[in-house]
Amino acid sequence: MPRKKIDLPGQIDHLSILDEDGKLDESLDPGLPDELLIKLYEAMVLGREFDRRMLNLQRQGRIGTFPPITGQEAAHLGAAAVLQADDWMVPSFRETAAELWRGRSMESVLMAFNGFNEGFHVEEGRNDLPNSVPVGSQVLHAVGIAWAMKYRKEKRVAMAFFGDGATSQGDVHEAFNFAGVFQVPAIFVCQNNQWAISIPRSQQTRSKTIAQKALAYGIEGIQVDGNDILAVYAAAAEAAERARNGDGPTLIECVTYRLMMHTTADDPKRYRTEEEVESWQKKDPIHRFQSYLKEKGIIDEDGIADVEASVKDRIQEAVDTAEKQMAETPDPLHMFAHVYDTMPPHLEAQREQLAQWRNNTGEEE
């Protein structure tokens, strides 16, 4: 026969476990212990409240520009929650709730978004890369890290995050391809929040889903309701198990929505409608998870109020500490410290020159 259908392997599933009202599909219940469910809930509320507080601080000029995560808490937290401490997380820049879950301090986030180098320091032992600006380029680093783990025969995984816009970047495709060819233990988590600044998802790719791109690279792919933390968790847990067993990488598309602006420098009213935003507010990941937890009887109104109050206290404490630290203007000479592991002579000379110049101008004042 000269022309026939090619039998391609693979099929793309869509996974949803909690519906918009928080109703559970029992057949798909990942059966997480109550303690973990409550922890995840608290972490989602923390992410949301921290976002809200940072927006206030930004509007008051107390911190700089930052990318809000509101609406996407389930998408990144649910995925990062399956990681062990010695696994690696490779973020883009819209995974704050997951970073806090992994142990990054709120002080560090506040300082980073206020331009303080101290905020970029990653403590020893936290296997998270810093936020990445060149869209999509970080995904390859997860592939390399995963490859190093595979080489050493460790059962660890590397999880990369990126947006829907990033899937138009060559680096992301090179990462999928590389990971597929070498079957490395990587997990690719796309937070498809429908927008890349002002460009809608439909203008990034003609494909029906982002998850289906996995098929072209011969790797596993799945689309999940990214506002359903149980679905995200279940898909990520499955991917992590696959990776640890040596069965290769997985692409997870989390369908979600950026409820706020791209960054605080953006006004989304210029390119999207209120109706669209409202339709997604009905699918809010925190509300539905809260309904589910109430229904399940592991939290009540008092418990919800307690979580909110304690989260707000923690945030206030962090803001106080960070602002105290930032009140002492850091030494600009610090900028020379980590350009190279050891400072080369030309930098020492430039450092010396700047120090002298500062001394001189200081005397004049």
């Binding site: 320091h121 990653v122 390859l140 890290i145 190093a148 680096d171 190279y340």
Partner: protein, 334 residues
Amino acid sequence: MTDDQKELRTLTYRDAIREAIHEAMQKDARVFLMGEDVGRYGGCFAVSKRLLEAFGPERIRDTPLSESGFVGAGIGAALGGMRPIVEIMTVNFSLLAAVQIINNAAVYLYMSGGQFNVPIVIRMATGGGRQLAAQHSRSLEGWYAHIPGIKVVSPATLEDARGMLWTALQDPDPVLIFENAGLYNMEGTLAGDAGAVDIDKAHVQRAGKDITIITYSANLYKSLEAAEILAKQGIDAEVIDLRTLRPLDDQTFLASVAKTHRALIVDEGWRSGSISAEISARIMEGAFYELDLPVERLCSVEAPMPYAKHMEDAVLPQVDKIVALVRKMVGANG
């Protein structure tokens, strides 16, 4: 030391690099080589020939044809505790990985507040002169030398081809090694026990008192040849091999200029905004009052590299041009 280790042996620049890779892989299990066609094919300049047989496909890793892909993955592997040697066929194709090199590898340490070093070594061929036309003949090492956070080295000699790699692998910062493709077949001798060399000092390759010729990589040989011709005409040129373009060892050439009072820079890169411009500026800043006359530069003509041999020869720095320039500078007649 046994006599065997001391004994000089004959080999090519290519062999010297291969030996260096071989030794690094033997000494450190974290070291691996990856790139396009580095395995069965042995590398596009045959540098990695027979290494696959010696170390297997996990450590001599043929990758998909995807420069950003394997440089990015190499950065990840370095972050993940490995010591990757990444081979890019030529600098011309490194541009596809420019974001990974410049916007990631060069800044991870800084952007993690000192936490994450990227101990990656990226090797690539550079240079023209082999009739490979515009898209295959660039000399962009000086352009990379503009970037804080990376180190840029360019071995000209067999000793450096043999010895720079190990030092680069020990360096916690990303190191780019530029190998002028015209040197791969160069034959010479090397001590049996040749090993690691520093990657931060320039070398005076020929001592002289009348003029300082500052150069690096393949142009070292054109400069040395010119110096021999000039010597017969009674002009005694000092020739300096920079070896490392970033960080630049300016002390060596400033000291030389203080002695000779004349400086000529020979650089295969384009003239405007080049490493030769940087060297000239440093001489102006650091040795202005030592100079008897302005610094001169001999660079490639600022046009895309022509395909035809006679035109390519005209674009590149050549021995006769060096001789003529030096003669003019020292005020020799005729």
